[in-house]
């Protein structure tokens, strides 16, 4: 009964109604705000809720088609299969272009309804314009779905008996969660964008505006962080190559909005607390969302070929490009016209928290420019007649790694400085002593590591990593200690702990990534049953190999006993799988993980005479990458939960009181 009720046709109609409501939502409140019609302005809220209802209904219908194996629907037939476990049938809904776009629209509706329901404190004119802008974005994507990528299309006259199956690479639990989380982050950036545009329309870029934008920016940034780290985790343990970040265009498309929104979070603080960087902050809000749209364009249009671009189509690309130029072009024009109103009056000295936040923003912006240039380089070189040339990881690492370390060094400086001015004497007291101490820590740490691994590949970068990270840890530790001296643990605001945790997380991620690059070792070996191999002080004994079958794949499983200094540590069982539904062989790496090191083995192809190609990795501290990611996201979450964002009215603060002694604002 459910099945018949939630038919693809109902979904199609719900999508049409939802998009029509979005048209009203985009027009009425905006028109009302200019003609003074309060009724029209108030309609924004109910329209936003109505839109959410119908888009959700459409999504339910598509999910239902997947769960009930309705292969008359072309999109279902292309991406699902009766043998698929039920949770993969559900995640297959967003495994390709049409469904993931529907998810995009659904998430936009969720954010819009959240703004409509949670923003009681906002002035009606401001709220109605914000909702109208979100409505217009929803119209753009709704029509995109309906006209170029309808997921509800049926196959006539002969529906296939069974579907083509989901790519085995995508049959993974992390992949169920990765796209929705990433989209929550991407699309969530539409909210600060809409806030910025309606503030520009009113010419009111003030601390109240910054205060309203902050929790939304933080929330979407948290989702984006979790999404990106989850994706990298998936790449690490599922792809079987032992890497964690590949500078793939699709990865870059998610990294760019993340970098810009990180900058945005920080400049919003300065704009709220000190009234500085206001035009810059507005520009960042526009950029953050623009880069989300650009990411969608790059992934969906197929102008850059990538492993992820399974559905590329120039016509769709043209539509997104048109939409992109209308949205971003008009926002930037508005910015250029209204810009002069935003010039800030406040002053600050050359060494102050403002300056350090500005430096943070500059570094992040340069990093975005580097990534953007690298990602688009094939297009640029092609346009200038040089042929399509892609730049690879060497280019990105060359620029990105030093920038990361510089950024890391400024984190504790910005955290500990006061607004307005901080004396050079205080600054130097932070720098000299902890620096010497961290140098010692770095030396001891890297030599211990070299001893443990046996053959450190790059002891200089291990030293630099350990030094910088330990310096940041010390500085943050001292800061917490000083704050606790002046206050008690429970009196410090939650956002302060959020800030500490997130920044420690950045240091932990850098630790993991730096040591992965400097001290991680790998080796390709040829082994048969009974052979030994040695890597990084570990002994690998190939004890057995088995062939067997599971319900939907055949597999070959090797058994390798790992020991160190004569003691057996673990038996690892890497696999190769051949799925019946696809010709692709999957490598299932076997990992013995821990906080201090991962041992990672992937089984390669069979060689002559029962020998196998096997890749061994020993990666110290690699898990710190994702541990840090978890800390960053949790820190962001704590900051969102801070009670000051739940106050209905903004309490005017005395800016003069914000000296070094007071509790810092995150």
């Amino acid at each position: 009964m459910m099945n018949e009720l939630l038919s693809p046709e109902l979904g199609h109609i719900a999508l049409i109604i939802g998009s029509c409501l979005a048209v009203f939502q985009g027009v009425l409140p905006l028109a009302g705000s200019y003609t003074g019609r309060v009724r029209w302005m108030q309609m924004g809220r109910s329209l936003a809720c109505g839109n959410l209802f119908f888009i959700f209904l459409a999504f339910l219908c598509l999910s239902n088609a997947f769960l009930s194996d309705d292969f008359t629907v072309r999109y279902v037939a292309q991406n699902s299969n009766t043998l698929l476990p039920i949770y993969f049938k559900f995640s297959a809904v967003w495994s390709a272009h049409e469904g993931s776009l529907l998810l995009w629209v659904l998430i936009l509706s969720i954010w819009t309804a959240a703004v409509a329901l949670l923003s009681n404190g906002l002035p009606l004119q401001f709220l109605s314009r914000t909702l109208a802008i979100l409505g217009l974005i929803s119209v753009g994507f709704g029509f995109f779905l309906l006209f170029t990528s309808n997921p509800f299309e049926r196959t006539f006259p002969l529906p296939p008996i069974d579907g083509q199956d989901l790519n085995p690479l995508l049959q993974d639990i992390a992949l169920i969660l990765h796209p929705p989380l990433l989209y929550l982050g991407y699309v969530g950036l539409a909210v600060p964008f809409a806030f910025a545009i309606s503030a520009l329309l009113e010419s009111r870029i003030d601390s109240a505006w910054a205060n309203w934008s902050r929790p939304w920016t933080l929330a979407s940034w948290c989702f984006l962080t979790v999404g990106i780290f989850l994706g990298s985790w998936w790449a690490y343990y599922e792809l079987g190559w032992g890497g964690w970040w590949f500078w793939d265009p699709v990865e870059n498309a998610s990294l760019m909005p993340w970098l810009v929104s990180t900058a945005l979070i920080h400049s919003l603080i300065a704009a709220e607390q000190r009234g500085v960087f206001r035009s810059w902050t507005v520009l960042l809000a526009i950029f953050a969302f623009s880069l989300s749209l650009l990411g969608t364009f790059l992934v969906r249009s197929g102008v850059l070929t990538s492993v992820h671009a399974f559905a590329s189509d120039p016509e769709r690309g043209m539509y997104i490009l048109l939409f992109l130029s209308i949205v971003i072009g008009s926002s930037l024009t508005l910015f250029a016209i209204r810009g002069p109103v935003l010039m800030s009056a406040s002053s600050y000295s050359g060494s102050s928290r403002e300056t350090f936040l500005l430096i943070n923003n500059l570094i992040l912006t340069v990093a975005v420019a580097v990534v953007l240039l690298g990602t688009m380089y094939p297009l640029i070189s092609d346009a200038f007649g040089l042929g399509k040339i892609s730049v690879g990881p060497p280019y990105f690492n060359f620029f990105f790694v030093p920038l990361t370390f510089i950024l890391l060094m400024f984190i504790p400086l910005a955290m500990r400085s006061s607004w307005g001015h901080v004396s050079v004497k205080i600054l130097s007291s932070w720098l000299i002593q902890p620096f010497l101490l961290s140098f010692v820590v770095g030396l001891i740490g890297s030599s211990m590591l070299a001893h443990w691994v046996g053959e450190t590949q790059n002891s200089f970068s291990a030293l630099v990593t350990l030094m910088c990270v330990s310096w940041v840890f010390m500085m943050i530790f001292v800061d917490v200690k000083e704050k606790l001296k002046l206050s008690t643990f429970t009196k410090l605001p939650v956002r302060y702990y959020g800030m500490v945790l997130a920044h420690l997380g950045v240091a932990v991620t850098v630790l993991g990534a730096g040591l992965y690059a400097s001290s991680g070792i790998q080796k390709d070996v040829k082994m048969g049953v009974g052979d030994y191999a040695y890597l990084g002080g570990h002994e690998f004994y190939f004890s057995d190999i088995k062939h067997d079958r599971m319900s939907n794949f055949l597999f070959t499983r090797a058994e390798i006993i790992v020991s160190r200094e004569g003691r057996e540590i673990v038996t690892l069982k890497p696999e190769k799988r051949l799925y019946f539904s696809s010709p692709q062989t999957m490598t299932e790496a076997a990992i013995d993980g821990g906080l201090l090191r991962d041992i990672y083995i992937s089984l390669g192809e069979p060689l002559d005479n029962n020998y196998w190609a096997i890749r061994l990795h020993v990666k110290p501290f690699v898990r710190c990458i994702w541990l840090g990611g978890a800390m960053i996201s949790l820190g962001g979450l704590l900051a969102v939960l801070d009670k000051r964002y739940r106050r209905r009215k903004i309490i005017k603060r005395d800016l003069e009181n914000l000296s070094a002694q007071s509790v810092p604002e995150m």
Partner: protein, 176 residues
């Protein structure tokens, strides 16, 4: 006013990016075929799919009329195309494969399972040769004469109909 001018800078940058993207879209599938026809196949030096140590280059292609087929294991349409390539190969057409942006192990297993119609397969993991050729997806097929000049390009699946319409004439002309 200089300040006003600076405020327009982001817009200008964006306009430049849009023009770039637009021209990239225009360039995709429509124009490239004609741009490459009549020109020499690009130079390259890449490994053989079956061996990490053996390098192939332009000279390995030239000498006879060949089809160059771009494929990958992640490409569903390639699987559909495969049986027809097998048929062509068994009727004596020389086919060279470019395994595009793929995993070596997966690609080898693919050929083992479905059969190997290729004289040799070039392993283009990073897509560098693909970029030189202007490949925008898989499958794609190029027809190259004995001097290594590209005669024809087909984007998408090659089947009996396409063969008769677009390719067979070249083989009739050369008397093969």
């Amino acid at each position: 006013m200089p300040v006003r001018f600076i405020l327009f800078a982001p817009l200008m940058v964006f306009v430049a990016i849009t023009i770039l993207l637009w021209s990239a879209l225009e360039r995709e599938p429509g124009k490239l075929p004609s741009a490459l026809i009549g020109k020499a196949f690009p130079e390259f030096s890449l490994t053989k799919l079956s061996s990490q140590n053996q390098y192939l280059s332009f000279s390995d292609l030239s000498g006879a009329m060949v089809l160059v087929n771009v494929w990958a294991t992640w490409c569903y349409a390639c699987k559909l195309e495969h049986p027809y390539l097998q048929k062509l190969a068994s009727s004596g057409v020389k086919i060279i494969g470019i395994n595009y942006k793929d995993n070596r192990k997966a690609a080898i297993a693919w050929l083992e399972k479905l059969g190997d119609p290729y004289l040799v397969t070039i392993f283009d993991k990073d897509g560098s040769l693909g970029l030189d050729l202007g490949v925008y997806g898989a499958p794609e097929t190029y027809l190259i004469d004995a001097q290594g000049i590209i005669l024809h390009r087909r984007v998408g699946v090659l089947d009996q109909k396409v063969w008769e319409r677009e390719f067979s004439q070249y083989y009739a002309d050369s008397g093969e």
